[in-house]
Amino acid sequence: MATIHIDGEPHETRDGENLLQAVLEAGVDLPYFCWHPELGSVGACRQCAVKQFNGPDDKRGRIVMACMTPATEGAIISVSDPEAKEFRGEVVEWLMTNHPHDCPVCEEGGECHLQDMTVMTGHRARRYRFEKRTHRNQDLGPFVKHEMNRCISCYRCVRFYRDYAGGQDLAAFASHNNMYFGRAESGTLESPFAGNLIEVCPTGVFTDKQFSKTYSRKWDMRGAPSVCAHCSVGCNTIVNERAGTVRRTINRYNDEVNRYFLCDRGRYGHGYANADTRIRVVGQLIDGVHHQVPSQAAISHFATFAEDGPVIGIGSARASLETNYALRSLVGAAQFSTGLAEPAHGLTLLAADILRTTPAHTPSLHDVEQCDAVFMLGEDALSTAPRLGLSMRQATRHASFLNADRNRIPRWMDASVRMMGQDFISPLMIATPAATGLDDCAVLTQHAAPDDLARLGFAVAHLIDEAAPAVPGLTEAESTVAGRIAEALLAADKPLVVSGTQLGSAALMQAAASIAAALMVRGKPAALSLVLPDANSMGVALMGGLSLDAVCDMARDGKVGTLIVAEADLTRQLAPERVEALLGQVRHFVLIDHSESPLIERAELVLPAAPITHSGGTMVNMEGRAQRFLPVAFPEGPVEVSWRWLRDFAESIGQDDRMAWQTLDDVVAAIARELTVFARIGEAAPSEQYMLESGHIRSQTARVSGRTAIRSHISVRDQPVPPMPDSPLSPTMEGTYSTSMPGALVPYYHAPGWNSEQSLNRFQQEIGGPMRGGYPGVRLVDAAEAVWSSAHYSTDLPETFAPRDGSILLLPESRIFGSEELSALAPAIAERAEPAVVRMAGDGPSEVTLTLDGIRHRLPVLRDDSLPPGLAFYPAHMTLRAFAAPVWVSLETAEALA
């Protein structure tokens, strides 16, 4: 702790801060552009100038850049000093000479850091009367819109895109007034984190192209805290809505999870909520055709179905905990399925099992960033959990920070730390079947088949702790690689092992768990991170249930009267003929979902569910963190959150005593009561009753417009605003707002004088620290439940991979864009997704025909020499819908066919 004096007032600051951070944390307004809380300082914009005095007797002082000056004990500075103010006024005037002042037509207007800072400096009349330089803009793809004329050359974009996210195709061109930030030529930005440029850019150079199509000002939209539904990381988001449609997704800060950045799948995946594929009516199959029926009629029909034999429920890893629990309650635990077929079912349960038993620490994303050696085993985490990949990239910087410490350079001094640290790279070691997007920052890459990767992993564990089983028959090369990995992990202070379910291999996950456990045995505080396929995979795993295969067996044995499927697309889990068989063997099939799937045609009853943008609920991410999402839009017409449909079903068959839930809180309480593992989910977010001292938190801003006028073409009568179910937020502008509200309830960021997302500084206890109002979600499994011993080491070692003649092991390639179920329905993601191709090594044919589940598929081939022979990658779920696990396929080339 140090005490500094800002304009005569003493303020406590944290050690190692710079003056800008100290001033902002003290609640004083000081304008800045190039500094960013996650990117550090470079002193490029000169906007945060303050006067610093050498001591109480120094009356003259000197101008310093606050972001480049450490806050030292006893420092005396003045923000309001006339000379400093004048300096800042001139800087902003200068930066603005070429700015087009096109705020009325700019998407950034109203949430623009440049606007805020210009007002903050008091620059209100422009004197520059010459011609402005203009630029040509580029087409940067479906996500990001480019308007270079607005640029003030702060360099934040390239610092984020290149330095932080490892992107290569965005650069700073030319010099002086001609500075240009863009690509070498027009084209889609390659980085899967490009969307963050929208928030990183302090003005309107990079804006949201999709949002721009149905644009609304920030102050005109309703906001609600949400949780990303598109992978198992569980990034926190704010979703915006106006006039019934979801408009955009932006980052919501959670100091332990996603912090300042999202991936583009998460930012643009919400498009499914507006898409034509949404189910909006209740449908009943009569004579082979779906007819629209009233909700009550559908519920009565279910009651008659239920008399026709046992009811089996199939839940889903993309549905909330509440929906899964409601289904489980309705049908009974023994009749509830996770909605996952083998091997996904077993692997997901195994991940939960490892989470509960491992002696290693389960890291949050922020913990991952602090690790100093990372071993990624058999999971391309950048594709399956993109935000985790970004955190792993940050972990490679650890050594450069230590180098900076040794040279007494503060860690926030970004350019110096990076320049000096070029050759100080913390080890990231990658063992996967093929090259990944993280290879550029890896010190070691090993490409092999899943079984060989698992063997390598077990070998590493054995090298670290001899009690772990030895791997017989390793090649010399494999032993060397294992030795290097073990050595690097042992040399680290905080080693991390990452694996997951991507390659459908339990052995891989066991190997990763063994390495982490072995490191713990050797006294290293190891971390273990296992990536799962879906947003609530861990929630479903902790709840448990039957596999789909078991349900198929029950159906075959005639033990299924009615099958209820809640928010699951079975065609992604089961091969077509198995789906056919299953549906043919049940008497009634009821589907509750928000988006159409091939199942819909077969369903006797189709009930429209609310997607997460229209409902409240809880999801559990891969680290076992329960997080609440709240509705931002009102469910329209008969659309209901799935658990309400299930509650009504229960009532219709006289089971309402156990499921008489009115609100989300009732369900949450019931889950916490019944299932010990979920005892704490109530702590994920405040209850629906939550109020600030002066009332409920409003979900619309105080200046929202058009509340009555927006319907005036239909009716001029005032409409009462419907209540927002399951949310503590007020559905309108009525209510209250505070920068110290719980982090789980933030509907939008705003602080006096700060209209952009940079106002976040005012919501944090300290810059980059926890939210003032807390609530980062609740970790359900924080410490191992049982004492670990070496008897827990898995001894299930696979054999060496043996290629087969005429066949190839087809592995599921996870695509950031295209292979995840819901985001693939979003038009923007579909546009960004590249065509599905088979990746294989060697100078082979340009097309292959392979036979999978009895169906022949003719597929284009892309040469990828990073793959070992005998293996091929094909995107999971993209054109072969159910394909998501490794499978041997016989291969015919196009020539052979001819």
Partner: protein, 179 residues
Amino acid sequence: MSIVETPASGVPAGTPPEFPQDLRDKIADMVAHEHHARGAAIEAMRLTQKRFGWLCDAHMREIAKLCSMSMADLDGIATFFNLLFRKPVGENVVMLCDSVSCWLMGEEKVRARFCEKLGIKRGQTTPDGKVTFLPIVCLGHCDHAPAMLVNEELYGNVDTETVDRVIDQMKNGSVRGES
């Protein structure tokens, strides 16, 4: 600016010649001697420009590959430097300083003379491909302002007579410095 995005002007670019093997070897050798491959980027571009007069996209891509850089990264460097040309230039390149000292000492007059005699504006090349006329930042020759660079020769105390003489020399094919 991104050169690639701006419409071509002046000398037609035409199809770029193959990137010669000897140049490729030379650059690969330079890369091998650098601590980081990208350290060779500027010299690689200088050598290529020396051979071809300017840096076309195809050659830039070759250099980027040799230096393990992205095209954007390399082009960011190329466009920073005034003496690396990303568009074709004429046989002679006249770069007239437009910084403060030179402006005070009559750069505008000199510029007007060039434009008038060559029949082009700043940033253009004469139709016969003889001369490209460009502005440049301070040449460090302020004590002899206005200053200019013709090809690699520095000129000081430039006046309209110097302009006439230099243009004559360029037409006759020989330019010598006189500072």
